[in-house]
Amino acid sequence: MIYADNAATTKMSRKAFEAMLPCMEETWGNASSLYVFGQKAKEALEVARSKVAACFGASPGGIYFTSGGSEADNQAIISAATLGAKKGKKHIISTTFEHHAVLHTLKKLENDGFEVELLDVHENGIVSPEQVAKAIRDDTALVTIMYANNEIGSVQPVAEIGAVCRERKVLFHTDAVQAAGHLPIDVQKQNIDMLSLSGHKFHGPKGVGVLYAKPGIPLVNLIEGGAQERGKRGGTENVPAIVGMAAALEEACANMEKNTAKVSKLRDKLIDGLRKIPRSILNGDEIRRLPGNVSFCFEGIEGESLLLLLDDKGICASSGSACTSGSLDPSHVLLAIGRPHEVAHGSLRLSLSEENTEAEIDEILRAVPEVVEYLRGISPLWKDKLVGKREFLLPE
């Protein structure tokens, strides 16, 4: 099997796995218990907190463990909105291609009377700090812009956006689920007030994530309960998962340079190869993109059939096609960068990790053109284009 869907989830690293075991076999106590056995779990929890904080130049006091990236996004946005509303600020700035954890939360706030402004991300999938500066108003409560896009891999100018927000005294949250462990992040240097991440995107376990909130920002609880996470997130801490995530993050950050060099080389080889397919187009900025992201649209075919046939060849990939999501509309991300519906239906995302090899890239480069050609061969749409009955939408 060739696993090329690392943006969906990653394989747990050996280090993460080994860090988790003792938390289940030995120090499995409740971190809130008074006795020494429980306090040992508490100690492991706090060591993990410090490790996570150190990866982002943050203070451990700003790290809140959650069930994942979605919960962190929800809590960050709801908290900033609540704080803003208290001051009469009910305007929120975001972008058209955020993850649904952000977009759906914003929709909910819109129904509650907030005004949400979604900035255009252009054809390359990048929003500019100038756009943000222009959009900020006196009543802006929050700017929430993802660090890097999950489908097309484009990386946003986070530090510059952070600087604009800081200057205008507006809270800045970034969904860094795809970036954490893959790109250098420093919440202080980049003026990030709040940040979300998810453990399983950098070889940690699933079901665990982090909300970073600069100390002093009052958080609104999504889950009421005990005094865990300084009273901001009820529920007994999932110490094994938290410890595993911290180990994975520490490992990813320590090897970032090496991994980036390796993965981006594989990525570029894959991009160069797939480009040779006629009427294909790379999605997302070519330079400012995640080291492992390859996203393409192929004209005249539908993405789900492509995925199923690649699966038959042992290749695990993903698509932004409507048919994989169960709706008639293709990916909102591909539509946001201006791909016509028809073209967006023929999308393919391959997301690599340092575990992928050059031989696997060669294999993918053999399989994809073959499958695209086969599907075009049975596509009446493609045929109509070939004989001039319909126009081609992508350049040759």
Binding site: G300, I301, S305, I378, L381, K383
Partner: protein, 141 residues
């Protein structure tokens, strides 16, 4: 548990009657590019019987499988018989489709009807227009 039944995967992987047809007696094309699925069915008619059938499909796995199954179900049948082929029958023959994929079988039924209608039109054969209403037109507007 796989997304599709073995039957669907079989017809998707090894589609029957795939291709086009020179001088077809009736051609039906339904769906549209914006929605991500187009089905085209070609019929060869001899003495009111489908003597040959071909299809081409742009769409997902279940769209290709539905087209393939539909062509198998109408091959060698009389025009009266093939007009009774419903999307439900196509779905059942495929051992079911996920709920959000049922429209693919509707497209298959519509493609057959569109091809028959085309045959009638081309050959000046009178028919009851009500028989060829398109229930799926709404979602493929």
């Amino acid at each position: 548990m796989a997304l599709y039944s073995e039957k669907v995967m079989d017809h998707f992987r090894n589609p029957r009657n795939v291709g086009s047809m020179e001088n077809a007696d009736g051609v039906g094309e339904v769906g549209n590019a914006k929605c991500g699925d187009i089905m085209k069915i070609y019929l060869k008619i001899d003495d009111d019987v489908v003597s040959d059938v071909k299809f081409e499909t742009f769409g997902c796995g279940s769209a290709i499988a539905s087209s393939s199954m539909a062509t198998e179900m109408i091959k060698g049948k009389s025009l009266d018989e093939i007009l009774t082929v419903t999307n439900k029958a196509v779905t059942e023959a495929l051992d079911g489709l996920p709920a959000h994929k049922l429209h693919c079988s509707v497209l298959a039924e519509e493609a057959i009807r569109a091809a028959v209608k085309d045959y009638y039109d081309k050959h000046g054969i009178a028919y009851d227009a009500a028989q060829f209403s398109t229930p799926c037109a709404a979602c493929h507007a």
